[in-house]
Subunit: 345 residues, 4 copies
């Protein structure tokens, strides 16, 4: 039953923890190694008491991250590491024959120059960029199946790309006039011990941050440009809100002439009508992060505003699941030939 061995490098952050949760209960894979400098020597159950009733969590212990060793312990290795560091592990693991699913930003942007512009340092492994597939299964399903290196998308990009790409591909909206206003729960910042993320600083607080040039713009604009077949620059404003999980994105779009509700509905239906993890809501409903928390589902709703002519598209996701670890497992399922929904329903 448990046919494949998997490992997680850097399992002590929030997306690492979420990966561990999904992999511990996955029907077809066995979690054989987890690493964490901070927790080396302790069992998963001791570090994350919430998993304590799982038998693997009770016995499997965190180790120091060593690529050579991990290559002998697992066929698929997830990297839940900071950008810059992830690439260092990817190279030896790939060379040793592992398939790698990287949750950092290291392999998302195809151009080393753009990477440097947004991340502030030289790309650590430019030769691997060609190998990497952007792990958005609804867009790159076929490529993911064959990939050895997956660049799992960022949480904001997922919430923006899935609602926007079908509209761009179908030529329904003006690519030069895209505004994305996004609201993220605090786990999106990672498990960073900084003043800004203390309970008292976040509770009863709402605030924009990181504008106007957030790092995630690099991968978003790359993918939107591919969909539009022209260079796309967008407006993106992230906000921090006092929830643990969840991203709610509101997109302000300009429909092309003669685009009507029918065309939008048909486009979304063709794109996502059969997707297990994209839920396009009907006329009566609007997205709510509480409806997707803990699931790998992205909710989409849209309204054509007759007063302004704009198309408003809204999406909701769990930033740690569809926005990170769940989507990474979805890619793994594709790579291994499992049902795409295995361990995610």
């Amino acid at each position: 039953m448990k046919t494949n061995k998997v490992a997680v490098i850097g399992a002590s952050g929030y997306s690492g923890e979420e990966l561990v949760r999904l992999l511990l209960w996955h029907p077809y894979v066995e979690l054989t190694a987890v690493t964490s400098r901070q927790y080396a020597g302790q069992s998963i159950g001791a570090v994350f008491p919430r998993f304590g009733h799982n038998s693997t969590a009770g016995t499997l212990r965190f180790t120091e991250p060593k690529a050579e060793l991990l290559a002998t312990q697992a066929e698929i290795v997830f990297l839940a590491l900071p950008h810059g560091v992830a690439a260092e592990y990817a190279a030896p693991l790939l060379q040793a024959g592992c398939r790698v699913i990287d949750l950092s930003a290291d392999f998302r942007v195809k151009s080393p120059d753009v990477y440097k512009e947004f991340y502030g340092h030289e790309h650590p492994a430019p030769k691997l960029l060609d190998k990497a597939v952007y792990g958005l299964p609804e867009i790159y399903r076929a490529q993911i199946r064959e990939a050895t290196l997956i660049a799992a998308p960022g949480c904001y990009p997922t919430s923006i790309l899935l609602p926007t790409i079908p509209l761009l591909k179908a030529g329904l909206i003006d690519p030069s006039n895209i505004i994305a206003d996004a609201l993220s729960g605090v786990s999106g910042a990672g498990r960073k011990v900084e003043l800004d993320y203390l309970f008292v600083e976040c509770n009863e607080s709402v605030r924009p941050y990181g504008l106007p040039k957030h790092r995630h713009l690099s991968e978003m604009e790359q993918e939107l440009s591919l969909a539009a077949n022209q260079r796309v620059v967008i407006q993106f404003t992230p906000h921090l809100i006092p929830v643990s999980r969840g991203i709610l994105t509101t997109l302000y779009l300009s429909p092309c002439p003669e685009v009507d509700a029918d065309k939008v509905a048909r486009t979304y239906d063709e794109a996502y009508g059969k997707e297990p993890f994209v839920r396009v809501l009907g006329n009566a409903a609007l997205p709510d992060t509480k409806n997707v928390i803990g699931t790998n589902v992205l909710e989409i709703a849209w309204r054509l505003d007759p007063r302004t002519g704009r198309l408003i598209v809204m999406s909701a996701e769990d930033n740690l699941v569809k926005g990170a670890s769940g989507q990474a497992v979805q890619s793994m399922n594709l790579m291994c030939g499992f049902a795409e929904t295995a361990g995610l329903m």
Copy 2:
């Protein structure tokens, strides 16, 4: 010292309660009557235990709302009633010589037709519309001083109008391309006992609602049109977020040609440099609702995005203070010749 007598009709909702708070501790007015059908007979301190240590709150009791009686008890009467109902009280109170500050929507929109379009019923007192002054002191200070009837602005409109009007008046932005994305705490919905506002339904939840045609658009577009000297239609998306108080609004604006950072800075400085309740932040800071909660201050920050050419303006306010009751007291201060900041610092 306490030279003027004031009353509050409909004091049992959240903005009514906030008015009571501000008036109980106001240095120059005496709160002589509060009404509430539901709580008639009970003291303020019994209904709102948080005010229990104020001596007036310990003794003043809620009464049934009767305009004739109230006219003998107070010179200034605040109406914290639902739209449609407020107008019924305004007429007899004005006739009896009271000055009236209405926190409902009844007198905000000058056109009875627009009122009907957005509120779904005939305007209950169209003859009074001419008398009413829109109670945004930073814009209508002189008129408020002379007014007998104030239409206190809505919470969303305050957060959008104050950042936008100076830019429109100075001709710095395109009036046809204004997008306002707003996030409101749950008290903005009033003290409504409805499923949607239960703790469990709001906690760990973020959701858009009421789009694309929210009622507040009527007063916003009226005031923006006046500032732009042309008809303005805007895009407005409200969201509900799990905080008790606070509105954070992000505005996406299109600067006119040759508008640069200097011009924006100068415009805001001229408009608000001396205003006690508008705080234009410098380059390093961004608004945060927790910095304005409990105060009558609206925070504004802005960024010109060199990548897109857009002007992003963000504001934060306490929806119950600057967005409702505090602003109403600010108007009262002007009407009575008090220091504008009396009881609000």
Copy 3:
């Protein structure tokens, strides 16, 4: 695989919704009917969008609750109804041969007189009381296996009984001196549309309520008396805290002479060392509701205070899972001969 058919009557409250969640993904049962007066005619997925990606949720519709009909649709019927009402459905369902798992208080208390004292009305079906088994699997596993009618325990009682019963049975504590201080999330109040449970009334608020004679005392004292083999009266103070889910209970107990840490440790180890859903923490850890949310696990920790001689025992559970629906499914698993953990891990 899906060998048994199950139904839920009254599926629109929070514990009903949680039952639906657990049963939709349960490996061995098929959810064939859900009832709700309010939502009759709508699909599960329409009412609870969070389950929308489950195929059964997409098609199965809420119906009016009719016992005769349900008896033809399911072998096991869960009642998630208010007390008083539940008993009316239990009788015909049992007569028609169904097994019934009741989440209300109707069959928890063996004495109709005590029921009347605490619930304020005559017991609606006193003849069934003998049939009912109190659904606490860790205590009544054998009886649950054979039962046709299960009275699933209340959320507070679960958090208090599991930590206390082993100590009483082993004679380690004074039965006449038990104090239970409990903190509950707001979902514990049910999906009641009342002022007290509005977001703004609960957020940034902590308050005791319902003391000194909460209804749950009746079942707690019944079970504690059985364990102690003498009449037990306890002190119990519930508090409402601003979380959606979770109960944290702190018990103040008086150890009998010569009780030491070893005896306590051994008693808990014997009682729960092999239980899949009770996690007794070691010396370094203390319970935290966030470690049990969404799981059927109850966490226990204890400290002997050398300064006072008291034994402090603390427990944490998810009030909707181990405190309600998860525990009910655990009973179902026993009744059907499934693995006790099926659908709960």
Copy 4:
């Protein structure tokens, strides 16, 4: 009007910030100096934007803490520093003729041995201990008026001592059987940048901590022993709950024989009937932290349980106001001969 000059050393934590708030708007004192190593050189308004609309906050800058200099700038100096450090500043300031109000634990415990037992290091200024008055105005009003050194009580102690001392003094309860179960908001931990206090770690979490021997026991037991005129040891369990501010304490007490509701009511009425900052609730009400947040009020309610014979007393306070900075200002008012409520209503 502003007759006295005051300074705050260590103004960058939560109670320092709250002190600054209270002193900026105090009618009779002028805040002339604030110190903070971290923020030296910046204005108050820059560090705490929420005070930005106060003119002093706009201009007064944080300085490095230097006792000699501060002694020339202020007559009263507040110390909002960690224990151990505070005492170092107290000595030179007192010598220079300043009066000192210390919010740390350094001067609360009269015995240097007990101090060492609970705080783990030698007392840094044992000679000053005799000088210090425990700053609980409702108990030590006369002594505070004459004091030069005030040890402002801890937040938990305030919530426990005020409800308990009158009962002990009147001989109504058994001093050997006091249990205090307390729930605190996260600001009680201070502005500590530690993993445990991150938003994601506190939100949807409730947990006990620091038992069974919390540091605050030292001052609580000292004061309770004085009230009972015998050595008192109590049980105390603190819990962390997801609110920013507020402490809710539930006390389990054993009434002495023949104590009835009348005696309890009379005792509290005599103790607190005229106190401006203690609100003893009637039969119908229970404390709720949201009713005291932002105020210097402590709410008390009590119930005699006829089933158990116990007396349950509950209190609510704002841990940063009555539990820290507000109470410190109340002491300052007494020391300066101001109205005790000045700046606190």
